[in-house]
Each structure stands twice: as C-alpha cells, then as structure tokens.
C-alpha cells in the first residue's frame, strides 16, 4: 500500500520562506510565553523543594487541604489535583526548611482527614544545591549531545550538513521548551531525557534525508543542489511520514495510558516528534542549502 504516491514532487525548498515564517512565529510565541512567565517552570528536580503526593479515599476538597496546611504555617504550598483521588502538594525549598517537612504535611493531613482515609504515595525532596547541580547537568548534557552530533554529522557527511542538522535541533528544542511554557508544564529530569531523545530522534529523520541527498548527488552530480535536495525530500517523504506516524501512535499510547508520573515526559515526546519531523523537512535542508554561497554544483558540495 502506498500512502504517498511514488512520483510525488512537492516543491519543499521554495516553500522555505513560508516555513521559516511559520517557525519564527511559533518560536516567538514560545519565547513570549517564557518571558511572561519568568522562565521555564522548573520542577523540584531543578528548583529544589518538596513534593508530597497523597491518595485519598474519595475526591478531596482542595480548599480544605489548603486551610489545613495554612493553619500550620504551610500556606505557601501549591496544591494540585491530579484527577480522581490524588493530590500533589509542592513546597518551595527554603533556608530553614527541615527535611522532615514532608512528614509534617502528611501528619497534618492524617489529623484532618483520618488515618485510613489518606495514604502517602510519593515523596520527593531535593535540597537547593542538588537542584542547582541538576540544572547544570541538564544543560550540559544537551550541549554535549549537540556537540557529539555535530561532530558525527560532520564526519559522516560534511560541515554544512551538520549546520543544517544543528539548526533543526536548536529549532526543535526552542519550540518544545516554548510549548512547555505555554501549556504550563513542569520541567523535570525525565523531561530533559525526553528532550535528548527528541534530539536523537529528530536527527534520525534528518540523516535519512541527508543520506538520500548524498546518494542522489552521486547519481546526478551535475544537477543543481537545490533540485537534488528537493527530490531527496520527496523520495524519503513516505518513510518520514510512516515512521513519525508509528512513533506518534506509540507515544500517544504512553500519554493516554501511562499515568500521571510520565505524563509530562510523554507530552514532551509528542511535541518533539511532531516538531522534529517538520524540521527535518522544512528547516534542515534549506539551511543546508544556505550553508554555501548561492547555488553550488552538486558535485563540489560533497567529498
């Protein structure tokens, strides 16, 4: 069966202006959201603090929880209902905060609601220095991955190909972070893991196209590079749509069925797969073309 007709010939390269504008708009919306909200919303992994997740007998009244905590001086906690009967309580990390704050919170709830009506599901406490440590590591890991990939693509193809790849990656990351901010999602370590996965995955796509470009260049060395690139994209379109399709199906399953623990993680993956596919087609290749001076004869652009 063929979803994409074999002889397809869409002119992707000429659509690049539209694509760039579209991307720019989304990037700006994302950055705008970040600016307005004062930066990304860091989870405790990065900001430090305490998270207590409690399961109740029946759906609890958040207001009641808030007042119970407020009475004991913990009114600054952020209470989030996780659907059904679960509630997540977050406290910022403070100088004098003892590491038993989570015990106190649970004790208060037990007292207010009754011993057998509440059960402690999850406690996470991250001291401020560990949080800062994680932030540093998180950013470093993304940088390292990008450098590693830049080197790899340069070795396997050529530097201008690597430029296109990196442009697509930066584009993907910025948009994903922006969307996260827009939807008020939290940045935790697993989300960074998702980002790195997106980097790897987006590159998958990009390399398949690059591979085809290289093969076509060898086959028709006298052809204009722009034409070669466009043909390559068209030829790999079928595979790109298919793989993205199946990956999306699979990640959607995770998102819907996976539960609240990896919810944000799978959300990041969904955004990443969509953006990654888009960028492989509309960002990586045009940038690759722009990497040299004007339209270069295909033969001279590849070893």
């Amino acid at each position: 069966m063929d979803v994409i007709k074999p002889g397809i010939d869409v002119d992707f390269i000429n659509k690049k202006r539209m694509a760039f504008i579209f991307s720019l708009v989304i990037v700006l919306i994302g950055i705008g959201s970040l600016v307005v909200k004062g930066g990304p919303r860091y989870g405790i992994d990065f900001a430090g603090g305490t998270l207590v997740q409690v399961k109740f007998d029946q759906v609890p009244d958040v207001g009641e929880i808030r007042s119970a905590l407020g009475e004991e001086g913990l009114g600054s906690s952020v209470i989030q209902s996780l659907g059904e009967d679960k509630v997540a309580i977050r406290l910022k990390s403070e100088e004098n905060q003892t590491d038993t704050v989570s015990d106190d919170v649970f004790a208060i709830l037990v007292q207010r609601f009754g011993q057998d009506k509440v059960s402690l599901e999850l406690v996470e406490m991250v001291g401020p220095q560990v949080g800062a440590d994680m932030r540093r590591k998180g950013i470093l890991s993304i940088l390292y991955a990008m450098v590693g990939i830049l080197i790899y693509v340069t070795v396997r193809f050529q530097f201008r190909f690597a430029l296109g790849a990196i442009a697509a990656l930066v584009h993907d990351i910025v948009i994903t972070v922006g969307v996260f901010s827009l939807f008020d999602k939290e940045f935790t370590l697993p989300v960074i893991a998702a980002l790195l996965t997106i980097i790897g995955y987006s590159l998958n796509d990009t390399i398949v196209v690059y591979d085809r470009i290289r093969e076509n260049i060898r086959r028709t060395p006298k052809e204009k590079l722009a034409v070669v690139v466009n043909n390559s994209i068209n030829q790999t379109l079928s595979r790109t749509i298919l793989t993205s399709g199946t990956t999306l199906i699979v990640v959607a399953c995770l998102f819907i069925l996976g539960g609240e623990v990896i919810h944000d993680f799978s959300f990041a993956l969904i955004v990443g797969v969509l953006v990654g596919t888009y960028s492989s087609i509309f960002i990586a290749s045009p940038i690759l073309l722009m990497g040299g001076r004007g339209i270069v004869s295909a033969r001279t652009s590849v070893r």
Binding site: M1, D2, V3, P6, Q53, K55, D99, S102, D103, L120, E121, L122, V123, E124, M125, V126, G127, Q129, M134, K137, L140, S141, Y144, A145, G148, Y152, R156, L189, P190, A193, L196, T197, I199, G200, L203, N204, D205, I207, V208, D211, Q235, R239, L242, T243, T246, T247, L248, I249, V250, V251, C253, L254, L257, G258, G259, V261, I262, F265, S266, L269
Partner: protein, 524 residues
C-alpha cells in the same frame, strides 16, 4: 537449503531461544532446581519507582567532624589543666578548626602551650594574646579526619540498615562526602530515615546536684531531658545541670539489647560495656555513689538515675518512656555505633509500593496497546511483508527483556517508556528497508534482486540514523539519575536490538521463504 541461509536461520533460533530462556525467570516465581543450576535465573530488576521503596542522598558534615575533634580536645584539657593547676578561663571551639584556650593569668599561658603540645602532638598551637592560645589541626590532619568521618559514616549506616532488615539495600559512597542509600520495598520510610540520620552520640556525665540552671557554674553545662507526660499528652523539657566532662562514651559499648522490665512490662535497653568501658564504669560508679549519672544521647538527657553502688559487671540499662519500636531502634543504633559527624539529607525519594504497582500496570498497558496498534498497522500497510516485520518486532521485545534480565539492569518507569519508544522506532528500520525494496521493484528488478538491493542500500542509512539516538542515550546515561539512566539503557538496548532484528532476522525470514521458490510478486 543453501548453507548460508541455513546458518543464519540457526543463529536466529539460537538467539531466540537464548532470549526466551533469559526472560523466563521474570515471568514465573518458581524455577525447578535443575534450571537454577545451569540456566540464567535472575528476574528483571525493578527500579524503586516500580517496586516502591526509598532513596536518600546524604552529605556527611565533615567540618563538624573536625570541630568535634577539637571539642574533645577542649574537654580533655579541662581535666588535664585542673590536674596541672593551670587555671583556665575557657576552652571553646569557634568557627572552623579553631579552639580558643584562654587562661586566667598571663603566667599560665606558656605552661598551657607546653602542656597542649605534649598531650596533643598532632595539633598546631599558636599564641593569640597574652592569655589566649589557639589550637588547630594541620591540613593533613583535617584531611584525615574528613576521610575517616565519611568512611566510618558509611560503615555505621550500613550496620544500622542491615539490622533494619531490608532486602538488598544499597549503600554507596559518592564523591568526597556523599552517601547514596537505596532501600527497596521498605515499609516505613520515615522510621528508616530517623534511624539512619541519628547521630547516636552517647555520653555519660555527672549531674551537678547543687547547681541551678539559672546560674550555671563554670565547668558545667545545661542539658535538657524530654519527658512525655501521659497526663497532659505533652512533652516536657526538664533542665539538668551537668558537669561538662564526658566520663564514658558509647564507643565502649559492646552490645545493646531490648529487654522488658518484669514489673510493668516496659521495654528498656540493656547495655554491655567492653573491658575498657567496664573498668571505667566501675570506677565512675564507685567514686560517685549516691550521685546522679546522666545518660545523654544526642545532647538529650535520656535519664539520670541515682548511682546506688559501685557496678562492676559492665552492665547498665537505659530506661525511659519507650515504645517497643523506639527501644529497638535505640538498641540498633547503639550497637552500630554513633555517626562521627552529622549527616544532612540532600535528596529524598520515597515511592509507596501501591504507586509502584500502579505504574507497572500502566506501563504494561502502554506497551500492549502500542504494540498491538503497530502490529496491525504494519500488516495493513506492508501486507504479508508486514508480518515479517512483526515477527522481528516480537523478537525485538524479547531480546530487550532478556538483556535487561541477564545484565541485571534496572527497569524504571521511564525505562518502560523507552521500550514503548523503541517499538515505534524499531518500525523505522523496517520501513527504510521495505520502502527501498518497493523502489527497487518499481525499477523492474526481480523479487530476489529487489530484496537484496533494498537491504544493501538501507543498511548504511539505518546505522547512521541509529547512531545518533545512541549518542543521545549515552549522554543521558552519563548525566542522568537512576530513573533516567534506566531510560537510557532500554533505549540503547532497544535500538541495537531493533537493528539486529530488522537487518538480520527479517532478511533471513525472507531468504528462507524464497529458498526454493520463485516469486514474481512480493506482498509488500
């Protein structure tokens, strides 16, 4: 059948059987005796987020260990100076690595310095003013104290945790002064944390009967005891004025057991001293009959019983209003020894077993659903060749599980997500190959030639594309914590397995099928 195809088919079968065998322990609880002897018998290790349990990252406050050392010097100096008739105004630690010794008259200062140098040769003694002397440790000694503190802390915590009875605890030193503790499946994480964190410094000191807490005489210090008043249900703090002299410490305790008092059935802790401790105890009790001996634990006065007579058996008991749990924990902590320096909790993570099994269930459902959808899609799009791809996919999953089991890599919830992701991405390799085969067919090649061409051309692309995912996974493994490491592992294993199954296994199936047949058309 040609030998080449035959060999390959055999390889595939060996891998399949090997994988199935490795996975079996994870599926059944009980394996027959003969199995455990020769075949792999370890089930997949579940991470804390799937099993429930607790993880702690502690930091040993080594600065305090250094200061504690100087405090002990100060304490000893008070006794020594008294004997040598050097009149002391004060001996106190201030800041870091700084013991200030102040004598009453200038004439005592030089003698004091000489005495300190004699008794504590490892220290640096400098004069600060006519009456003050500063005692501090040299760099080498500080380093040694810090190192010892961490090593001892790890050992002490290990003994305490061992007694607590958790299966397969992990206690690892991390870096210079951090300790990572993992207690899978622990029932009462709060109790475990209290047990681990306690300094458990036990001191025996004399109560100064005549003194009042409002005007504390020189050489004494006020410590508080906590008494739980059952009547008012409140905790009272009672002040005790004790002589600031440590007569005996918990280091000399050989054993500590929980016993029950015959009269009321109340639990108490019975201590047994070693020979040195027994001797000192005998002397102390003999010298101070009818005085009160304060038993101080972590600067809290647990009890201050009156010494009735000289005690020479080397046995003592600590009683107070304990619950059985408190007594047990106290005994554990006294047996294991005190922590050389306080530990600070940098990071804490507890997952209840119920949430863990919830996560497993949800993770498995995602795998099942995702897998089913992909399988259906593959047949729908690639028809019969899709079935070949599906066989490869099934084998892929089994191989991933097998590798996890054999290498005892931990499976976490993100790890399960990694498996789900691999299912989606494993399709990629097959798609690359099949689309290529379709192209070859379109150019008019025979079925066999098309298949060969498809696999040949797609190979390099598959490798290139997957290497980048592996680079990302490698970076993740380096920088991530346990949960994320689990994801990196399953992702890497999944990518490698999918390369193997797509390139090798599915091709073998095609070739085996084509062996003695000539197809004019391929269902792809």
């Amino acid at each position: 059948m040609r030998t080449r195809v035959k060999t390959r088919l055999i390889i595939v079968f060996i891998v399949l059987i090997g994988a199935l065998v490795s996975v079996t322990p994870s599926l059944t609880g009980s394996l027959p005796g003969w199995w455990t002897k020769i075949l792999p018998s370890k089930a997949i290790q579940l991470g804390l987020d799937l099993k429930g349990g607790m993880e702690l990252l502690l930091e040993v406050q080594t600065d305090e260990a250094v200061n504690n050392g100087l405090s002990r010097v100060a304490s000893d100096l008070k006794t020594i100076f008294k004997d040598r008739k050097i009149r002391l105004r004060r001996a106190e630690t201030t800041g870091f690595n700084r013991l200030v010794v102040e004598v009453r008259r200038e004439k005592y200062r030089d003698d004091a310095m000489t005495v300190i140098r004699e008794e504590f040769p490892g220290t640096i003694v400098t004069e600060n003013s006519e009456t003050k002397v500063i005692v501090s440790y040299p760099e080498s000694e500080i380093k040694r104290i810090r190192e010892n503190a961490v090593v001892q802390a790890v050992e002490t915590i290990r003994s305490r945790v061992d007694e607590f009875g958790v299966t397969e605890p992990t206690i690892l030193r991390q870096g210079e002064s951090r300790i990572l503790i993992q207690l899978p499946g622990v029932e009462d994480p709060q109790r475990a944390i209290t047990l681990i964190k306690r300094s458990a410094v036990l001191k025996f000191m004399l109560v100064d009967e005549g003194a009042s807490p409002d005007s504390v005489p020189f050489g004494d210090v006020v410590l508080y005891g906590k008494d739980y008043d059952a009547a008012t249900k409140r905790v009272r703090r009672t002040p005790y004025v004790v002589e600031d002299r440590i007569l005996l410490t918990g280091d000399t305790i050989k054993d500590a057991r929980v016993r029950y008092d015959s009269q009321y059935g109340q639990p108490y802790v019975s201590l047994t001293f070693d020979s040195v401790g027994a001797r000192i105890f005998e002397q102390v009790t003999g010298d101070h009959v009818k005085e009160r001996l304060a038993i101080v634990l972590d600067e809290n006065v647990y009890s201050a019983p009156v010494i009735q007579e000289r005690i020479s058996g080397g046995q003592a008991s600590i009683s107070g209003s304990f619950t059985a749990d408190e007594a047990t924990d106290l005994a554990i902590v006294l047996r294991a020894g005190s922590l050389p320096a306080p530990v600070k909790i940098l990071q804490k993570w507890t997952v209840s077993p119920s949430l863990g099994s919830d996560s497993i269930r949800k993770g498995l459902m995602s795998i099942v659903f995702g897998f089913s959808l992909v399988i259906v899609f593959m047949v729908f799009y690639f028809r019969l060749s899709g079935i070949v791809a599906n066989i490869a996919l099934v084998m892929n999953l089994i191989i991933i599980m097998a590798v996890l089991a054999v290498f005892q890599a931990t499976l976490t919830l993100p790890g399960i997500a990694g498996i789900v992701l691999t299912i989606g991405m494993a399709v990629d390799a097959n798609v690359l190959i099949f689309e290529r085969i379709k192209e070859e067919l379109r150019t008019g090649k025979t079925v066999r030639a098309a298949i060969d061409g498809g696999y040949g051309k797609a190979l390099l692309t598959i490798v290139d594309a997957n290497v980048t995912t592996l680079i990302a996974a490698l970076v993740l493994f380096q920088f991530g914590t346990g949960q994320v490491k689990g994801f990196a592992v399953t992702l890497s294993v999944g990518v490698l397995a999918s390369m193997f199954t797509a390139i090798f296994v599915s091709r073998v199936i095609f070739e085996a099928y084509l062996e003695n047949r000539t197809l004019n058309e391929l269902s792809i």
